[in-house]
Subunit: 373 residues, 2 copies
C-alpha cells in the first residue's frame, strides 16, 4: 500500500477545479463523468478517461468511510471528509475496463453506495460501477431490433417450488412463429444468480448487436440459478452437482423445450458458464454427453482430451479467460484438445482479470462459433 | 411521539429471550421471523405475528442508526447498540399488512439495509419489507401454471432511445399460438418505475392465481416508465403529460400490437395506474377516448361524470383506495358516475393506506371486471 497515493488522490477528490495535477508519476485528468450504472440522477460514483473511479458518500457524522474498490489488496479506497460533510476519494490507479462490484464500509458496517445500481454478486446485492472500455460498442444499447428477456417460473419437483429462469428470445421470435431455435444454457459464477448474465453481462444486448450485424444466426439463451444445493455452499470443495443437474436436465430443459420454439436436439443445445458455472458445465457435460454438443468454459477451468469420452458427440469446446488470469493454461489445454482431434477454440481477453469484461468478450467470441451446421 | 414506546421496543430488541412482555398496553410476541423480502440467507429484518418489524444493522463504530420505518411521523425507529456491535430496534407498533419501503440512516447518511432486497421507489432503489397479510394467498407464489414477465426494449423516436417495458403474457400464451388477448396498460406511482408492478405489486402472481382459479379470462399487462419528461419532475404540479402520452400511444401500443398477439381494439384495451399513474390514466383517457375502454384509478383520483365526454366509449370506470386514505371521495365519485349511467365500481382496501397492499388488492378486484364482453 502506498499511502501517499491515497493522499494525493483525496486532494483532487475534494477539489472542484478542472486542473491536471501530478500524483506520483500519473497525472489525473479532471474529466470525471458519472458511471453509466448510477441510479437515475445520481452524480457519483464517477470515472475519468484514465479509468480512475471517484466516489462521494454522504454520511456527515461518520468516523470512517472506505470503498472496497481500488488498487492494492488492502482495504480499497479510503475516503476523506470534505467540508460539506460528504466523504470523497479516488482510486489510487486505473481500474480494468468494464464492470466491477464494490461496497462501502461505513464505521465498520458494509453497505451499498446510494448513488449506484445494485447487482447480485457474492451472495448479496452489491454496488456496481462501469469503466468505459475501448470495445464497449459490442455491448451498447443501440437502435437495432431487440430481443426480449423473459422471466419464467418453471415447476421443480426436486426442489418442491417454482424456480426462476431468464430466457432470451431473439428479435424476430414473435414475428416468425414457425421458426425454431437452438439453445445455449448459460450459467453465472459463485455468489451470483440468474440475473447476472443480463444485468452485469449484457448478454441480451451482445446478442441483439451480433444478430443486427449479421454475424450470428439467432439462438435462445436460458439462464437459471446454479447454486441449487446451498446458497452459501460453504466452499466449492463441498459442491454437489446433483441437485443442479437434476433441475437443469430433468426440469428446466423439458420445460423450455415445451414452452419455447427450440430445436430440441443434442446437436442444437450448448452449455456454458463462467467461473463456478464453468465447473458446472464441465461436470454436467462429462456426466451427460447426450444432452449438449457445444461446451464453453469462461474462466472456468479446462478439459483434458481424456475428460471427453465420445469425441463424435462434441461439436465445439470453447475455453477462455482474461490475460490477467492463467492464459497459458487455457492455451495449452486448447492445443492438446486440437491435437486430439477436437474442434477447440481459445480466447484470451486482453487486460482483464476474473471479471465480467472477460465474460462479455468471451460471449461475443463464442456466439458466432455456435450451431454452425 | 411517545418516547416510552421507543424505549420499551428497544429493550426487547436487544433481548434474546423468547418471553412475552408488556410495552405500554401491548405485549410484543417473540415470534419474529425473517421478512420474506430479505436477501438470501439474511436473518434481518424480521416481523412478528403482531406485524411489528425488527431491524438489525452491523455498524460497530457508528454513533447513530435509525430506520425510516415505524410509528409516528418523526424519524421512524431509532436503533440501539447491542453488546456485539450491532444496532437493533423494533417498531413502536404494528405496521400495515403488505409491502413497505424504508431506508437506514447511518450517522446522517441514507443507506439501504444490507439484509433486505431493494425496490425502486422515491426515484431510488430502497429497502423493502413484507408484513404478512391475512389475505396474502392471492399474491403468493403457488404451484399453478405461470405466465412470463418479458423485458422488452421498444424504439422511441420521440425520446431518441430504446425504452424499457415489462409485458406479462399469461400461461398458455405460447402453447396456444392462435389465441389473441386484451391488454391492460398499468402504470406505477411517482418515483417508481416499470419494475414496481411486478416486484412490489406481484401483478404476475396475482394474474397467475386468478387465471388458475378460473376467476378471469387471461389478458396481457404492459408496464412502462411514466415519468418520461423528468426523473425528479420537480413536483407534480409541473407535470406535462405530453411526452408520456406520445411514448405510450404513438410508440409503445403500436409496438405491443405488432409484437404480441393482442386484440388491437379500443374495446379490448384498458388503462390503469396507481397514484401518479392514476393521474396519468385520467388525463390520457380524457384526451384520447378512442384508445381505451376500461379506466382504473388506484389511489389516483376520481372522474366526475362531466370529465368523460362520450359515455358510449366507456365500458368500466374502477376507482379504489385504502380505508386510511379518502374512501368517501372514491365512494361518492362512484355513486355520481353510476347515477350518470356509467358502469362504475369502487373498492376500498380495509386497513391500508397509500401503499402497495392497497394496489395489489385493487388489481385483484379489478381484473375480473375487465374485458367481460
Amino acid at each position: 500500500m502506498k499511502p501517499y497515493l491515497f493522499a494525493s488522490a483525496l486532494l483532487f477528490a475534494i477539489s472542484t477545479s478542472l486542473c491536471v495535477a501530478q500524483t506520483g508519476s500519473t497525472a489525473i485528468l479532471e474529466d470525471f463523468k458519472p458511471s453509466t450504472l448510477n441510479q437515475p440522477g445520481q452524480e457519483y460514483p464517477q470515472v475519468n478517461s484514465q479509468r480512475y473511479a471517484r466516489f462521494r458518500i454522504i454520511a456527515p457524522a461518520a468516523d470512517s468511510v472506505r470503498v472496497s474498490l481500488g488498487l492494492g489488496g488492502r482495504g480499497g479506497t479510503k475516503l476523506a471528509k470534505a467540508t460539506d460533510g460528504s466523504w470523497m476519494g479516488t482510486t489510487a490507479g486505473p481500474m480494468d475496463e468494464g464492470f466491477h462490484y464494490y461496497n462501502v464500509n461505513i464505521d465498520g458496517g458494509k453497505f451499498n453506495d446510494p448513488g449506484a445500481l445494485n447487482f447480485y454478486g457474492s451472495t448479496r446485492w452489491e454496488s456496481g460501477i462501469e469503466i468505459p472500455a475501448h470495445d464497449q460498442d459490442f455491448y451498447a444499447l443501440k437502435d437495432v431490433p431487440h430481443g426480449n428477456v423473459q422471466l419464467i417460473l418453471f415447476p421443480s419437483k426436486s426442489t418442491n417450488t417454482s424456480r426462476r429462469a431468464f430466457v432470451y428470445t431473439p428479435p424476430g421470435y414473435f414475428e416468425n412463429p414457425k421458426t425454431r431455435y437452438p439453445v445455449l444454457y448459460l450459467q453465472h459464477g459463485w455468489g451470483e444468480d440468474e440475473t447476472a448474465w443480463s444485468n452485469q453481462g449484457r448478454a441480451n444486448l451482445i446478442m441483439d448487436n451480433l444478430i443486427a450485424a449479421g454475424k450470428i444466426k439467432p439462438f435462445i439463451i436460458v439462464m437459471t440459478y446454479g447454486m441449487t444445493n446451498d446458497v452459501k455452499m460453504g466452499g466449492l470443495r463441498n459442491f454437489d452437482i446433483k441437485p443442479f443437474q437434476t433441475v437443469l436436465l430433468d426440469e428446466l430443459i423439458p420445460y423450455v423445450d415445451k414452452t419455447f420454439r427450440t430445436i430440441a436436439k443434442q446437436e442444437k443445445r450448448a452449455m456454458g458458464g463462467l467461473s463456478m458455472g464453468g465447473m458446472e458445465t464441465k461436470t454436467i457435460t462429462m456426466n451427460m454427453p447426450e444432452v449438449f454438443s457445444h461446451y464453453a468454459l469462461l474462466s472456468g477451468g479446462t478439459y483434458a482430451p481424456a475428460d471427453i469420452k465420445d469425441k463424435s458427440k462434441v461439436k465445439l469446446v470453447f475455453l477462455s479467460c482474461g490475460s490477467k488470469e492463467r492464459p497459458d493454461g487455457v492455451k495449452n489445454a486448447t492445443t492438446a484438445l486440437k491435437e486430439a482431434g477436437f474442434n477447440a477454440v481459445s480466447y484470451i481477453s486482453e487486460g482483464t482479470a476474473h471479471e465480467f469484461q472477460t465474460w462479455r468478450r468471451s460471449l461475443y467470441q463464442l456466439a458466432p462459433l455456435l450451431f454452425k451446421d
